[in-house]
Structures are given as structure tokens and as C-alpha cells.
């Protein structure tokens, strides 16, 4: 990835970002390129529309939800926050990221919880879980079956019996899974 200094100069605060994130200049450049290609209108920030235009996301059964989760803060992404977003989520999930091949597991932490948590009350209610399940399973199962699955899932994870899954409970229910393996994606080459 022969990064030329001229292109690096296009990135605002390049040095500071590199210092903050530990990304190499090549990685930063790569991110920036991707950012610009996503930002079709050159507005300088990303909106959900930009993501929805992606073919793969449109195909994704829960693509809409994922986009929503990404934009859950309500602030449109400008470039530095894009990399910052990765960084923050990485820190939250305590995955090491400072290596040359940066890994990120944005969704394993709050991201994934956000995916379910529609009303942002910090809990996944049965209805919210149902909606995600419905999106994922589509027409394969009946509504009744969906209900039972959701019911069962909540019973399993719900430790304080408030009929909803809090983020802590969510984490606990997954602690036996090898999250690092399952939720890592290499997006910087």
C-alpha cells in the first residue's frame, strides 16, 4: 500500500488520528478512500442513505437495523468519527486493535445491543427481539414460532426477571461464546 504523502495530506488531522488510533498511514488512507467512495454526494459526512445504497446491505435481512444501529447516535458521520467509531467500539469490547492488522468487533458490544434495542432504553424487550427475529427469519417460521423463540430467549437470558434483556444480561448470555473469534473482522488490509 504505497501511500503517498500527498494523499495523506487530504486527510484532516492525519497525524493526530494515527496517534490516537494506532493506525498506520496506509490504513488511514484506506479508510479515507472507503469513506469517500461511500460518501457519494461529497457532503463530507455519511448518512444512512449512503449505506442503504450499498448492494450488500440492501440484501442483508437485518441491514436496515444495522444501519440504524450505526447511526444510533443521531450524528452524521464525518470522516474522523468514522475511524473513531471503530476505535471506540473496539475499546468497549476490549479487543486489541493496535496491531498492524487492525481488528474490530464493533457489533459485539453496544453495537449489537443497539441492533435489538429500538427504543434505546438499554434493554431488549420481547417485542424488540421479535422484530429482529422476524427480519432474520423472514417467512420461514410462523409468528407463533417466533413468539416461542423470543420467549425462550428472554427466559434464558433474563436474570432479574424484568421480562427484558439488559445489556449486562446480554453480555452474560454470550460470555461463553468465543466472541473475539466470531465477531472479529479484518477490514484493513
Amino acid at each position: 500500500m504505497g501511500s503517498s504523502s500527498s494523499s495523506r495530506n487530504k486527510i484532516p488531522n492525519a497525524q493526530e488520528l494515527m496517534r490516537q488510533t494506532g493506525f498506520s498511514s496506509a490504513h488511514l488512507l484506506r479508510l479515507h478512500d472507503r469513506f469517500e467512495s461511500l460518501d457519494r454526494d461529497n457532503r463530507g459526512y455519511l448518512s444512512p442513505d449512503d449505506f442503504e445504497a450499498l448492494g450488500g446491505l440492501a440484501m442483508n435481512p437485518i441491514g436496515g437495523r444495522i444501519i440504524e444501529a450505526f447511526f444510533s447516535s443521531g450524528i452524521p458521520w464525518t470522516f474522523p468519527p468514522l475511524s473513531g467509531f471503530w476505535l471506540i467500539s473496539v475499546q468497549l469490547t476490549e479487543t486489541e486493535t493496535k496491531k498492524e492488522h487492525s481488528k474490530s468487533s464493533p457489533a459485539a458490544g453496544p453495537g449489537s445491543s443497539n441492533l435489538y434495542d429500538l427504543d434505546r432504553d438499554g434493554k431488549i424487550s420481547r417485542e424488540e427481539l421479535l422484530q429482529v427475529l422476524r427480519a432474520m427469519l423472514g417467512l420461514q417460521v410462523t409468528e407463533e414460532q417466533l413468539q416461542s423463540i423470543a420467549e425462550r430467549a428472554i427466559q434464558e437470558a433474563d436474570l432479574d426477571k424484568d421480562d427484558a434483556i439488559s445489556f449486562d444480561e446480554f453480555k452474560k448470555s454470550l460470555e461463553k461464546m468465543d466472541i473475539d473469534t466470531k465477531m472479529s473482522v479484518s477490514f484493513l488490509k
Partner: protein
């Protein structure tokens, strides 16, 4: 086994068989002995046993009778193990680590083979290896090729007991399976080189070797996948012939192996991929019983094969004629394979870790290096060598045996303490929860989305693409329609539910009465209010989930519901044991007879209870009783014939009889009467039940004595028997177990016993203490019935000639105040054929 004992004398055959059975028993014992198996791997014990056995046989016979025959090994023993491994391979894990597995299998094996070969040649040149070992460079390369491959059998045997974490296991085990292609090609190429002679080998031949590697590996994989598709496709249509499903699985998987072997492709690869590919579709298509059969048969066969392999490895070692010892060669080989394995693993891991998201730690690398076990494949290959071509064959055989023994026994013995000492992450023996199932799928989607956003076409991207393809085309082709519509998540959910239910039963004993229910996989749910049994609970939570595992059999929802209803109803009632038996065993084999059988059973029990009531007080009328019984049988049969004959006179006397019974202490076991009275009580019982009982009820309706409060007929028919029972006035008096007379009662006897019926009825009339009331009632009834409404044309007034038919209509029933409840269902069975003989008497 028998083939193995290629002995000339019959007595030695017998001896060997004795020994073999003895050793199987011992193997089982070792399996059970905790102390042994926690310290010593089973494979070690088996080899030791084999050594002992070999020694015994050698002493007894002066020569070794049997050894591990390569043909037997490659045609029967190896495919059994590989088939099991492939079919139950965790596919997701395998493909998640495919890159690492392929690297270790191809690069690692090549590296080991060449380095070992060249180093041995160098050692020979340097004089470490004795002059007697007549081997050229090609021979050493050949030997290096066969000794370098990690052996799936040994790895499975040792690693399954070590329980390292699944990633580590799949990498080592996957490598041992996939490197077969490399081994086969190297082996064959070298053999052909040796045959033509080293000096005749041209440059083009090396390229041919490379090309043949591609063909052997890719070809083997393709053959396996083709058979996987065929297998999946066939099992789509086996709904009517469930019994052949397991056989089909074994045959096709084995056929994949044989076909690949036939074309000199990698048979192990073929079988592995056939298993991996077909597993998903086959498991979804075949029935639960077939699944269990496949699973246990495969596992059993595999462990038998493993036992045989290790024992015979031990036996084969005790054969001085087969091998020649050279300390230099043996020690050099041992050192080289250990060193090069470690170096290879570390080097490859270093490269791989640059790409892996979760790097392989140093500990993992140590275990991987140490876990490079050699086994029976190497031994079979070395035995296959042609002694004419390869002069040093005997030396190679001895070295291979030593290497195999060293790796399996020494390393196998020490790897467990090593793993403990290094604190290698162990595998958690844990069943997935529904949350994990859900979130794992969600994670897959998320990761795909992240890759999309990041503009990458990485692993998740392609996996997503594959899943799309699988869903849209492959599954449509290979899955049954009923299965295709089911979601995997739903399946997982059901499995978890069933598992919980089973474990509850296992732990708590009687599920159906346990007031509190806590399922193991539910974190801290101590109790469920208002949920008193698992059936209830499961029904509330999963519409189709029930204890008796019927969900798996793709029974349409209505049937499931109905069965569950019945199941539930019967859970607490008198007939539970029988009922359970039915629900467990009759599902596939007598789906139609179920209702009828159940009905009959209820009937029989009722009969018994009635008889029990009167048993103590009755002494007389044996003849009558018997004849009545016959009568009942006749009526039974007649009902089946659906002849509509019910004569009022008959009814009336019976009525009297019923009353008489209550008052009359001297009656003997009067089956017929008993039956009738009982029936009168429970007319509503079985709306769904077979025609037989229904008709009986119908017959009795008119007789209803001063009826005990007839239970209101509940809409769900099956539930009624229980409630009915409770209303029976005499039911409470049931003391001793009922006699088994009633069993006969249900039998149908031929029509020619009508005469007996007539007699019995007449005698009944005369005997019944108040004969008078009977007579009056009869006319009234008939009058009522006449008033009631339209009668079938076949109706004949009471007292008419033989063959008269009487059918009771709904209106008639309604008019009958004696039987207040509406009897919609019983009407069907109403048509009863009676001999008119009695009628005439009245």
C-alpha cells in the same frame, strides 16, 4: 476380523477368535476404568494389548499369524473412521479455519516429507545410518512422504480424550484428514519413480507430479461433493421407507470413498467432503430415529475399527520376520520428524498469524507440534511397499512401527499433562443456548454488513453469498419441502427444548407431577407459576413442541395438537402407562390403529372395574355370564358390520338387569351386564373413538338407569374418560386389581353364537328380581322413540320377527330424559345389530 486370521489351522483360528473377543472385552473394561483412561489414552492401552497378544501368539505358534493387512485397513477400517469423522465434522468450524487447515496439510506435509527425506539421505551419506540399509535418495524421500503425514486415526484417538479447545482440535484434525491427498500423491509419484528408476525420471515427471496432486485433491473433493448431493437428493424421497435411511447414508458415504479410490483420487478427502456436505441436508431429511441410528452406528463402527487398528498395530509389531532394526535410522527418523514438525508448525503459524484475526498462540503451536501423531496409515503404506523395488523395506517397516508407537504412546501419554501444564484453553462441553443461536446468526449478518461498509469482499462476504446460494438453490433441491420451510433457528429451538425436557425427566423423575420446573439452560428460573408440567409448559412456549419428540417427524400441526391434547389429558389418568407406551412406539407403525386401540383399552379397563365391583357378591349365573359375554361380542362384531339392529326388548331387560345388579348381591361376574351399565355411564366418553365403542354406547343409551349425574360432555373429546370414571358410582369401590377376564370381552365371536345370546337374554329376564318394571319400560321407550322422529326405514317395532332393525335417532335421544346430554357422536355408532330372538320373547 475373520479375514484377518488367515491361519491355516482351524484351531489357531479359534484361538485367535478367542483372543480377539477377550481383547474387545478388555477394551471395554479399559473404557470404563476411570483411573486408566484419565492417565493412559485408550490407544496406548490397545497397542500394549496388541503387543501382549502378539507375543502370546508368537510363542504359541512360533510365527505371527496375523497382522494389519493394508487392504483390510484401506478398504474397511480406515473408511469407517474417516466416514464418522467427516459426517460429524463441525462444518462451520472447519470452514472457518479452512485456510489454516489447508496450509498445514499441504505446505506442512510437503515440508515434512521433503525435509525428512533429504535429511535422512544426508544422515546416510554422513554414515549415521548403517550400511545395510540399502536405500537411495528416492527411497528416503518415499519413506519421508509416508512417515510425515499426521494420522487422522491417531489424532482422533488421542485428541478426543485431551479435549483441547475446538479451534486447535479442528486445525490438527482437519490437517490430518486433508493431508491424505498430499500423502497419496507423494507416495504414488515416488513409487512410480522408484519403479522406473531414478535415472530415468525426467523433468516433465515432476510437473506431472504437481499436476497429479491437483487432480487427486480437487478430484477427490469433487467426487465427495457429488456424492453428497446425490445422498441429499435421495434422502429427500425416503419418507415412506425410513428404514433404509441409515443404510443409505452409510452406503453413499462409503461409495464416495470407493469411487475415489477407484480413480486413484484421494479417498479420504472424498469421504470427508461427502460427509461434511451431506450432513446438513441428510440430517434435516431423515427421521429422528434414522438420525440416532446413523449416529450410533457410525460411532460404534468407528470405535470398533479404531480398536482393531491399534490392537493389530501392536500385534504386527511382534513379528521379527517383517522388520529389521537399525538404530541409526530409527533415531534419526524420530529426531527429524519431531524437529521438522515443530519447525514447520512455527513457521507456518508465523505466516498464518499475519492473516488470522485470532492468532494462534505459542501454546497452541506447542500442542500442534506435539500433536503431530503418526499412525496406522503410515504403517499400512510402508507394509504396502514392494520389497523388490525398495530394498530397505524391512528397515522402513521397523522404523515406522517405532515412530508410530512413539508418537501414539509416548506423545499420546504425555500430551494430556502437557496440555494441563501449559493451560491450553480446553473445550467446554456445553450445549448452545437459544440466545447464542440467535446472536450468532445476527453476528454473521452484522459482520457481513461491516464488510460491505468497509468495502471488502472477505470471508464473511463470501460466506453470506454461499448461504444465499444454499438457501435459494441447494436447499430447494436437496431438502424436503416440509423441511425446507423450517428455519434452522426454529430447529435449534426445538432441539434445545427437547433436550431440556429430557434432562428434566432424567433428573426429576416424574415430570408430569413436578410442580416446580427449572430447566438447566435457563439461568435462574426457579419456578414457573401456573406451569405444572413440562407438557404444559412446552405447549405454552412452543406450539409444536411436546415431550414425545414428535416434532421431529414433520407431523402436520393439527395432528401434533391433537396428540398433545390426548397426551396431556391422559397424563394424569388411569391409563397412563399404556398410553405412554402408545405415544412412544406407535407413532410410525400403527398411526391408524391408535385410536381404536386406545378405545379398546379404555373399554377393557372399564369392564374390569365393573366386574371388580360385583365380583365378591356374585356366585351364580356362570353360564349366563358367559353367554352374555358372547352376546356382547356378537354385538361388538355386529357393530363393526354396522348393521343397524337394536331391539327394544333387548334393551329393556338389560336395564332391569342393571338395576338388579345394584340390588342383587348374588350375581356373578356378569360381563355383559357390567359392560352395559358402564357404558350407560359413559356415553360421552369418546367422541373420537372407534365405531365399536360408540355403537355400544348407543345401544345402552335407552337403558340408562336412574343415571348417575352424567358428566357434561367436554368439547375436546379425548379428555372425557377420566372425568367419566370419577363419576362412576362404583368406581371408588375398586379394591383389588381387576381380573383379566375382560380381555376376552373384546374379542369378536362368530355369529353362530347367536343362539347363546338368545338364551342368555331370556334367562336374564326371568332372573332379574323385578321383572315387572322391565316390561313397562320397554314400551315407553319404544313409544318415546317413535315420537322422537323419523326412523330409518329399516326400523321394526319391538317384538317383531327376527332380523328387525332398530336405529335410534337423535331426536329419540333428546326425548329420552334418562340421557340428557346431547350425543352427537354416539349416533354414528348407534346402529347395532341384535338378534331378534329376544325381541320376540318380549
Amino acid at each position: 476380523m475373520v479375514e484377518l486370521c488367515s491361519s491355516e489351522e482351524s484351531d489357531s483360528d479359534a484361538v485367535s477368535l478367542c483372543f480377539q473377543s477377550l481383547f474387545f472385552v478388555l477394551a471395554v473394561l479399559f473404557h470404563f476404568s476411570q483411573r486408566f483412561t484419565t492417565v493412559v489414552p485408550e490407544s496406548c492401552m490397545l497397542i500394549l494389548l496388541g503387543l501382549v497378544l502378539g507375543g502370546v501368539v508368537l510363542i504359541a505358534n512360533k510365527k505371527q499369524l496375523y497382522q494389519l493387512e493394508p487392504s483390510l485397513f484401506f478398504l474397511f477400517l480406515l473408511p469407517t473412521i474417516v466416514g464418522d469423522a467427516g459426517y460429524f465434522m463441525p462444518a462451520r468450524l472447519f470452514f472457518d479455519n479452512l485456510g489454516a487447515i489447508l496450509t498445514y496439510a499441504v505446505v506442512g506435509t510437503l515440508w515434512n516429507a521433503f525435509c525428512t527425506g533429504f535429511s535422512l539421505y544426508a544422515a546416510k551419506l554422513l554414515g549415521f545410518i548403517d550400511e545395510h540399509v540399502q536405500a537411495e535418495m528416492l527411497d528416503f524421500l518415499l519413506f519421508g512422504a509416508l512417515i510425515s503425514a499426521v494420522d487422522p486415526v491417531a489424532v482422533l484417538a488421542v485428541f478426543e480424550e485431551v479435549h483441547v479447545n475446538e479451534t486447535l482440535f479442528i486445525i490438527v484434525f482437519g490437517e490430518s484428514l486433508v493431508n491424505d491427498a498430499v500423502t497419496v500423491v507423494l507416495y504414488k509419484v515416488y513409487i512410480s519413480f522408484v519403479e522406473v528408476g531414478a535415472e530415468n525420471v525426467q523433468t516433465a515427471d515432476y510437473f506431472k507430479g504437481v499436476a497429479s496432486f491437483l487432480i487427486v485433491s480437487i478430484g477427490g473433493t469433487m467426487v465427495g461433493l457429488i456424492f453428497a448431493v446425490i445422498l441429499g437428493f435421495i434422502t429427500r424421497f425416503t419418507k415412506k421407507v425410513r428404514i433404509i435411511e441409515p443404510l443409505l447414508v452409510f452406503l453413499m458415504v462409503y461409495l464416495a470413498y470407493l469411487t475415489a479410490e477407484l480413480f486413484s483420487l484421494s479417498a479420504i478427502l472424498s469421504m470427508t467432503f461427502c460427509g461434511i456436505g451431506a450432513n446438513k441436508y441428510v440430517e434435516a431429511n431423515i427421521s429422528q430415529k434414522s438420525r440416532t441410528t446413523v449416529k450410533y452406528t457410525m460411532k460404534t463402527l468407528a470405535s470398533i475399527a479404531e480398536t482393531i487398528i491399534f490392537i493389530f498395530l501392536g500385534i504386527s509389531a511382534v513379528d521379527k520376520s517383517k522388520w529389521a532394526w537399525d538404530t541409526g535410522l530409527v533415531s534419526c527418523t524420530l529426531v527429524f520428524i519431531l524437529i521438522f514438525r515443530a519447525v514447520g508448525v512455527v513457521g507456518q503459524t508465523w505466516v498464518l498469524n499475519r492473516f488470522r484475526l485470532v492468532p494462534l498462540e505459542k501454546i497452541d503451536q506447542v500442542v500442534m507440534s506435539y500433536g503431530g501423531l503418526r499412525g496406522a496409515v503410515a504403517f499400512a503404506l510402508v507394509v504396502l511397499l514392494d520389497g523388490e523395488q525398495v530394498k530397505a523395506k524391512d528397515y522402513f517397516v521397523a522404523t515406522t512401527i517405532v515412530v508410530v508407537f512413539f508418537t501414539v504412546m509416548f506423545q499420546g501419554l504425555t500430551i494430556k499433562p502437557l496440555v494441563k501444564w501449559l493451560k491450553v484453553p480446553r473445550a467446554t462441553n456445553r450445549k448452545p443456548t437459544i440466545n447464542e443461536e440467535i446472536h450468532e446468526r445476527a453476528f454473521d449478518h452484522i459482520l457481513t454488513a461491516v464488510e460491505d461498509i468497509a468495502g471488502l469482499q472477505g470471508y464473511h462476504h463470501w460466506r453470506d453469498k454461499w448461504e444465499q446460494f444454499d438457501k435459494n438453490y441447494l436447499s430447494k433441491l436437496l431438502l424436503r419441502k416440509s423441511v425446507y420451510r423450517k428455519s434452522e433457528l426454529w430447529e435449534a429451538y426445538q432441539k434445545i427444548n427437547i433436550r431440556d425436557a429430557i434432562s428434566v425427566i432424567d433428573q426429576g423423575g416424574n415430570v408430569l407431577t413436578s410442580a416446580r420446573l427449572s430447566l438447566p439452560s435457563m439461568a435462574s428460573r426457579a419456578s414457573f407459576p401456573e406451569v405444572t408440567n413440562v407438557t404444559n409448559y412446552l405447549r405454552e412456549n412452543g406450539s409444536g413442541v411436546c415431550l414425545d419428540l414428535q416434532v421431529i417427524d414433520n407431523i402436520p400441526g393439527a395432528k401434533v395438537e391433537e396428540d398433545m391434547e390426548t397426551h396431556h389429558v391422559l397424563a394424569g389418568n388411569l391409563y397412563k402407562p399404556r398410553r405412554r407406551y402408545q405415544s412412544h412406539y406407535s407413532r410410525h407403525f400403527m398411526p391408524l390403529g391408535e385410536q381404536e386401540r386406545q378405545d379398546r383399552e379404555v373399554f377393557q379397563r372399564n369392564m374390569r372395574s365393573r366386574m371388580e365391583t360385583f365380583k365378591s357378591t356374585r356366585y351364580k349365573r356362570h353360564k349366563k355370564e358367559r353367554s352374555l359375554k358372547k352376546v356382547r361380542r356378537i354385538s361388538h362384531r355386529n357393530k363393526r358390520d354396522s348393521l343397524s339392529l337394536c331391539s327394544d326388548p333387548v334393551v329393556v331387560p338389560v336395564e332391569t338387569e342393571d338395576k338388579a345388579e345394584h340390588s342383587d348381591p348374588e350375581k356373578d361376574e356378569d360381563v355383559g351386564i357390567t359392560f352395559i351399565a358402564r357404558k350407560a355411564e359413559t356415553p360421552k366418553q369418546r367422541p373420537k373413538s372407534g365405531k365399536t365403542s360408540l355403537s355400544l354406547e348407543g345401544c345402552q343409551i335407552p337403558l340408562l338407569p336412574p343415571p348417575p349425574p352424567a358428566p357434561p360432555s367436554p368439547p375436546p373429546a379425548p379428555s372425557s374418560p377420566t372425568s367419566e370414571d370419577s363419576h362412576l358410582p362404583w368406581k371408588g369401590s375398586l379394591g383389588s386389581p381387576p381380573p383379566c377376564v375382560s380381555l376376552e370381552a373384546t374379542k369378536i365371536i362368530p355369529v353362530d353364537l347367536q343362539q347363546a345370546w338368545n338364551q342368555s337374554i331370556s334367562s336374564l329376564e326371568s332372573i332379574s328380581s323385578p321383572p315387572a318394571p322391565a316390561e313397562p319400560i320397554h314400551p315407553r321407550v319404544s313409544a318415546l322413540s317413535r315420537l322422537g322422529g323419523p326412523r330409518p326405514a329399516s326400523y321394526t317395532p319391538p317384538g317383531s320377527a327376527a332380523g328387525s332393525t332398530f336405529s335410534i335417532g337423535p331426536q329419540w335421544q333428546a326425548n329420552q330424559h334418562l340421557s340428557p346430554e346431547p350425543r352427537e357422536v354416539s349416533l354414528q355408532g348407534f346402529l347395532i345389530h341384535f338378534k331378534s330372538g329376544e325381541a320376540t320373547k318380549h
